[in-house]
């Protein structure tokens, strides 16, 4: 039994198109969002995910700046003596090693080599930040008709949050 959702179906079709052209598309899942990477990496021997700077921003929201790798108020300086582990110039293109960055900021990464897919999890500081404040982690999810609701919509009420499943 296989379920194809509209978006997933599209990804599948894209995969087929790339396969026909002899190029496996690379897929990155970052903060739960799926991004397909068009440019193939020249680092074919590496199991790490190398992305262009434009792809980095498209897939993760991070931007490489002189002070480090930044998103919103957050900046992670790259260790000076190891900059070459993160950034490599090939011709006119600068490549960024997203796995090396994950190791730097302690993100877990799952990888499927055959299907060229990488999934990056949250930094422990981000995941555990609610332990300091004891604020219930917020989320936004659809109801059955697709309308989105956030936990924070119910501020001012007591909330009994209950999970269940059909299985």
């Amino acid at each position: 039994m296989r379920k194809l959702f509209p978006l997933a179906g599209l990804v599948f079709l894209c995969s087929m198109a790339h396969a026909a052209a002899g190029q496996a598309p690379r897929v990155v899942i970052y903060d739960g969002a799926v991004t397909e990477l068009s440019a193939p990496s020249p680092f074919t021997q590496s199991k790490d995910l190398w992305v262009t700077l434009a792809e980095l921003t498209r897939a993760t929201g991070y931007v490489v700046k002189p002070q480090g790798v930044c998103r919103d108020e957050l900046c992670f300086p790259l260790p000076k003596q190891r900059k070459g582990d993160f950034l490599v110039q090939r011709g006119k293109v600068t490549w960024f090693n997203l796995n090396e960055f994950a190791r730097l900021v302690n993100q877990p990464v799952a990888h499927d080599e055959k299907l060229a897919a990488w999934c990056f999890g949250p930094r422990p500081e981000a995941q555990n930040s609610y332990l300091a404040t004891l604020h219930a982690p917020n989320f936004t999810l659809p109801d059955r008709s697709g309308t989105l609701h956030s936990l924070s919509d119910f501020r001012g009420k007591k909330v009994l949050l209950i999970t269940w499943a059909s299985w």
Binding site: A117, P137, K158, A165, S166
Partner: protein
Amino acid sequence: MPGWQIFYHELKDKNLEIVSVAQDTGGVKDAGPWIEKASAEYTVLIDEQHLVTKLYSMVNVPTAVWINEQGKIVRPNEVAFVDDRFKSYSHMDAGPYLDAIRDWVAKGERSSFVLSEEELRKRLTPVSPDRRMADVEFSLAEYLYHAGHGPEAIPHFKEAQRLAPDNWNYKRQAWLLSDADRDYGTNFTKEVQKLNGKPYYAPRQMPEPANKPK
């Protein structure tokens, strides 16, 4: 779920909302019929990516968290049944738990069921490195499954299960998406038998309700 609707009806005018979240990779297709049958007035959401399981480090369903008016957790993860249909798994009566919720709704922060910050910090601990790896393996598996790569998803589901062996959500969801005996060499009934009398749900650490609120 009809039980929760009756309970909600009793308390909804006392500033309580129930937010019920289905942990279902199959989304509306799997959870929808249950939601229809329940015709609940409270908020029922569908969580295809098991986001709530990950955010709150849950290991089972049903799991409840009490959250106060300021959005703070006052009781973290614990098993929450509305009736005694599954008592053979939970070994706990539902009645005292529902009374505890009634007590909280009536008394707010003065309820003896609201945990102190000290107790909350004892119960809420940082997520282990293995669980964090399990979460990304599970996410990758779900993605592969949805992208039409069901067989390729299985090794990643298995890795998630190996890294988080106490997480029933990651087991039962993966088993449902394929033939559990064929692909995982086990099934729910067999795994429950392996518990050999150990509780399927962690026992609730909760005082007996002293006075039932009127």
